[in-house]
């Protein structure tokens, strides 16, 4: 216990709260983009996951992700129900804060990741199969991938893959799972024929602003201490968001007018892209990462539109492709001059790191997409993922929850 640092503990407690707020922030980010008959439903898809995954994580999620390694693939059950997770730090993960705090900080990541996926199936998903999906997905996709990348003995960590705050674990898994879910559930009625106008873009702006702030907890908190790596992560996070928002504004302007919805989307994409490299790259590297993230996601949205795929709120384009670029960019821009605990990337003379990053990302993409496809197909066959035609037309607020957002 003599290793406990009050400063580190205070910062990670604060960061935990910041990451928690990202989930309701995401609820508003998404909630503004749907039609008003689905506003409450969309807010709730994120909110309920705070409850659902908090319990899953305490009961068995944490131990699957961070329990003693079994064969490189999954954690053992030693920490079932947070057993043995207490005040004593665990030197494998964070030597200066209580292990219980580390576990709880990680809980917030486990919460927001499935919430990200909800953007792909809003306005048509049945609530019960959604709840079942979320628990299955957290157990079968998130917990194993978190183990592979972050846990001591995880095979991607052993391979040398860098993921400072979850570009691979959070954003690639969520983004590519969203793609699979959208393909299985199918498009909203009237998709491509009638305009599906965002009903409250100010909500989306509010959500994006709170996400930007919460991301300081997400990335700088991932340093797991009040230290220079945390400071670097906070600065690169802010810088990448700024660069991406500006470039998105220019792209949007070139195609018409500078869309506010576009600008705030750009900021979020920049935050996604910097996540895996936040603690390993310089502020100038962050500008490049954010600036390149914007066109990647922008044109990914265009491609998705052209393919007529109703991946409704572009989780794949923003988180999947933004996260993939972030993983690759970490292999380009990482430098041990910023963080001795990391590795150098291609631009600092280590091409091998780029290869490692790409391989780790590719394995995660195949696993997340494939398994989500199977889970959603199975759920569709047994529980039926979609609401009835009439329920969809009336809107999920009334049909699934018996409530109206606005009266």
């Amino acid at each position: 216990m003599e290793n406990l640092s009050a400063g580190d503990t205070a910062w990670v407690l604060t960061a935990t709260a910041l990451v928690l707020v990202m989930t309701p922030a995401l609820a508003f980010f998404y909630g503004g983009m749907v039609r008003k008959k689905n506003a409450l439903s969309t807010l709730n898809l994120s909110f309920i996951i705070m409850a659902l995954l908090s319990i899953q994580w305490v009961l068995y999620g944490f131990t699957l992700a961070f329990g003693p390694n079994i064969g490189g693939f999954i954690g053992g059950l030693d920490y079932l129900g947070f057993a043995g997770v207490g005040a004593e730090p665990n030197g494998d993960y964070a030597a200066t804060i209580p292990f219980l705090l580390f576990a709880t900080f990680q809980m917030m990541f486990a919460v927001i990741t499935p919430a990200l996926i909800t953007g792909s199936f809003v306005e048509r998903v049945r609530f019960l199969p959604f709840l079942v999906f979320t628990v299955l997905w957290a157990t079968l996709v998130y917990d194993p991938v978190a183990h592979w990348v972050w846990a001591v003995g995880g095979f991607l960590r052993n391979m040398g893959a860098l993921d400072f705050a979850g570009g691979t674990v959070v954003h690639i898994t969520a983004g590519f799972s969203a793609l699979a879910f959208a393909m299985v559930i199918g498009a909203r009625r009237g998709f491509g024929k009638a305009a599906m106008e965002p009903h409250n873009i100010p909500y989306t702006v509010l959500g994006a602003g709170l996400l930007w702030m919460g991301w300081f907890g997400f990335n700088a908190g991932s340093a797991l201490g009040a230290n220079p790596a945390a400071v670097n992560a906070l600065v690169t996070t802010n810088t990448a968001a700024a660069a991406s928002a500006l470039i998105w504004m220019i792209l949007s302007w070139r195609d018409g007018k500078p869309s506010v919805l576009g600008i705030v989307t750009g900021a979020v994409v920049g935050l996604v892209a910097i996540t895996p490299g936040a603690g390993y790259v310089t502020p100038i590297g962050a500008i490049a990462i954010g600036a390149i993230a914007a066109p990647i996601s922008y044109y990914a949205i265009r491609l998705r539109q052209k393919r007529n795929l109703d991946e409704s709120l572009d989780v794949w384009a923003c988180h999947g492709m933004g996260g993939l670029w972030g993983a690759i960019a970490t292999g380009l821009f990482a430098t041990t001059a910023v963080n001795a605990a990391g590795f150098d990337g291609l631009f600092y003379g280590n091409p091998q790191q780029l290869v490692t990053q790409v391989v780790a990302a590719a394995i995660t993409i195949v696993f997340a997409f494939g398994l989500t496809f199977i889970i959603t197909k199975a759920l569709d066959a047994t529980l039926r993922l979609r609401v009835s035609q009439n329920a969809e037309e009336v809107g999920l607020d009334l049909s699934e929850h018996g409530e109206r957002a606005y009266t």
Binding site: A195, D255, G256, Y299
Partner: protein
């Protein structure tokens, strides 16, 4: 004879139209928020990446019931105030009205439409537009 005119107009022109009507003594009216489109079809809005079409556009629908002999002047006033010259300026429909009943007094027909200082009062008093008449309403 009594007519109803139903005016679909741009939201941003409503204040101008109301002021112009007040000036000629058209006082009673109500307004409804509506959505729709005419020949204009729709407009293009900015999305996250690229644009999309919206074809049900917000407009105000202004309803006025008035005597036959005031219809032309009212229409001219509305057109002058509501026009921008761009597609989407709106449209006016004129309907016959069978009867008008003022609930408080039970007055009917043209009598029920009368306001102190309105367009007919002004005609009777030599088209005078007095501050007092305006203030009364």
């Amino acid at each position: 004879m009594t007519k109803k005119i139903e005016v679909i107009l741009r939201e941003e022109k409503f204040q101008d139209v109301k002021d112009a009507l007040r000036k000629i003594g058209i006082i009673g009216m109500n307004v409804v928020e509506v959505r729709g489109h005419g020949r204009q079809g729709g407009i293009t809005l900015e999305g996250r990446a690229g644009t999309y079409q919206v074809d049900m556009l917000p407009r105000y629908q202004l309803n006025i019931v008035l005597s036959d002999h005031n219809v032309e002047r009212t229409i001219e006033t509305i057109c002058a105030a509501a026009k921008t010259g761009n597609p989407g300026d709106g449209i006016i429909f004129v309907y016959p009205v069978d009867d008008v009943i003022r609930i408080r007094t039970g007055e009917r027909g043209a009598q029920a439409l009368h306001y102190k200082g309105d367009i007919d009062d002004r005609r009777a008093s030599g088209n005078g537009h007095t501050a007092a008449a305006t203030a009364k309403v």
